[in-house]
């Protein structure tokens, strides 16, 4: 009987195991690693593809949203068919990642990461990669990671500019050391100011380089350094992270305000012209709901989400009771549509 070679000895990783920084030992550690990507947009898809190709054993992809045509310019894994089908990003990403590498486990989760579900979604991973598009979720990840002594890598981009910072609890500062709370003012976002696919690809790739190093060589191996890049002007600026702040509510005083803050507001602005309503107590039967809604507008559904068009609005409804209502930033209008078509 011939012995089956272990997965990390697969020829597909030969160029990576020949790289002195990793070697076969590093590849074996990657194969036994478990990573969560929170947010599967432009950063998250770049991270997911690179991690999958690199042979990271288990990749959990968490995202609350669905694929849209406006994502295709920069979100690497998705195609026109995904957008036309309105597939949740986590599911569409998992389909493509499985085609890229069948020897690893992909665990897609269609959900909004919030304090009540973070323990369930992140308790078994060794590392968290930030692919989110908002600070509320980043501060929540930061609280959880510091509390559990888990490394995570912040990444963000807007326009042609991006930034990357690894957070290694106990060794580096954390996100709350730099800013004690999420900014409350309206900030330029990818929806309002645009974003280039090249900057999100660069930042996602830098986050993955830190991830591979942390997984293969340990959290102490990455530099406590912030990297900023502007791909349009060509500027790269790097500087050491500030020291951890003893008065930091997260890593200094260990109060974990976002983790203990309980539930996220049930209604949040979501992107440029959309509102998310999250009614956590509800479980919806999408098939039944779809049949009911057909009388009122056009309905398209798959196993993971239902899209209901009632011009000028479009509702995307998920089985956990969550809905994204596009076409308004008026919370009252969104709440009224939710009540009218889904129920109070």
């Amino acid at each position: 009987m011939t012995e089956v070679a272990p997965v990390w000895k697969d020829e597909r990783y030969s160029r990576q195991t020949r790289f002195a920084g990793l070697g076969e030992e590093g590849q074996k550690r990657l194969a036994n690693s478990r990573v969560a990507i929170v947010g599967c947009g432009a950063l998250g898809t770049a991270q997911a593809e690179l991690l999958a190709r690199a042979g990271v054993g288990t990749i959990r992809v968490i995202d609350r949203d669905y694929v849209e045509r406006s994502n295709l310019q920069r979100q690497l894994l998705f195609d026109e068919q995904d957008a036309a089908s309105g597939l949740p990003k986590a599911i569409a990403a998992a389909n493509h990642l499985r085609a890229i590498n069948t020897s690893i486990a992909i665990d897609p989760v269609v959900a909004d990461l919030i304090a009540p579900n973070i323990e369930h979604l992140l308790n078994d991973v060794q590392l968290i990669l930030d692919g989110t598009d908002n600070f509320e979720t980043r501060f929540l990840i930061n609280d959880f990671a510091v509390d559990r002594n888990l490394p995570w890598v912040y990444g963000a981009a807007v326009g042609s500019f991006g930034m990357k910072m690894p957070v290694i609890p106990g060794r580096t500062c954390c996100l709350s050391c730099m800013k004690s709370a999420a900014p409350t003012s309206a900030q330029p976002t990818c929806e309002t100011s645009g974003v280039l696919g090249s900057i999100t690809a660069v930042i996602g790739a830098l986050q993955v380089a830190d991830a591979l190093k942390i997984l293969a060589c340990g959290p102490e191996s990455v530099a406590a350094q912030i990297t900023t890049i502007d791909v349009w002007s060509g500027e790269v600026v790097q500087f050491p992270e500030p020291p951890a702040n003893p008065e930091c509510p997260t890593c200094g005083r260990r109060e974990f305000p976002y983790l203990k803050g309980g539930y996220r507001a049930p209604i949040t602005l979501c992107g440029h012209n959309a509102v998310q309503i999250y009614d956590e107590t509800r479980t919806l039967d999408l098939r039944e709901l779809g049949e009911r809604l057909q009388a009122a507008g056009s309905v398209r559904a798959n196993d993971f989400a239902l899209r209901f068009d009632i011009p000028p609005y479009q509702m995307t409804i998920f089985p956990d009771g969550r809905a994204i209502i596009k076409g308004t930033v008026d919370i009252g209008v969104a709440r009224s549509l939710y009540s009218k078509y889904i129920g109070d």
């Binding site: 947010g39 947009g41 432009a42 950063l43 998250g44 930030d130 692919g131 989110t132 598009d133 908002n134 600070f135 980043r138 990444g155 963000a156 981009a157 807007v158 326009g159 500019f161 991006g162 930034m163 730099m178 800013k179 900014p183 409350t184 003012s185 900030q187 330029p188 976002t189 990818c190 100011s193 974003v195 999100t200 912030i226 900023t228 502007d230 002007s233 600026v237 500087f239 050491p240 500030p242």
Partner: protein, 74 residues
């Protein structure tokens, strides 16, 4: 005194990328923000000569001040 101010990301919109500006002695970082109409609440990182500083830090002649916003997209 002369301060070399560098702005990053969307702080450049309607302002400048880098400029040498004249400020009175004992100017703090917060005073520069106020002159540039950059709200303190969305400020991300402030560096003087490549090192992190707080908003009440007083600038010296010839300092290089870098201002980065919090960047949230992804």
């Amino acid at each position: 005194m002369k301060i070399f101010v560098k702005l990053f990301a969307y702080y450049r919109t309607g302002r400048f990328s880098a400029a040498t500006q004249e400020y009175p002695t004992d100017t703090r970082v917060a005073d520069v923000l106020s002159r540039l109409k950059i709200p303190e609440k969305d400020l991300g990182i402030v560096l003087i000569n490549g090192r992190f500083v707080e908003l009440d830090q007083i600038l010296k002649e010839g300092d290089e001040l870098s201002l980065f916003p919090m960047v949230g997209g992804g």
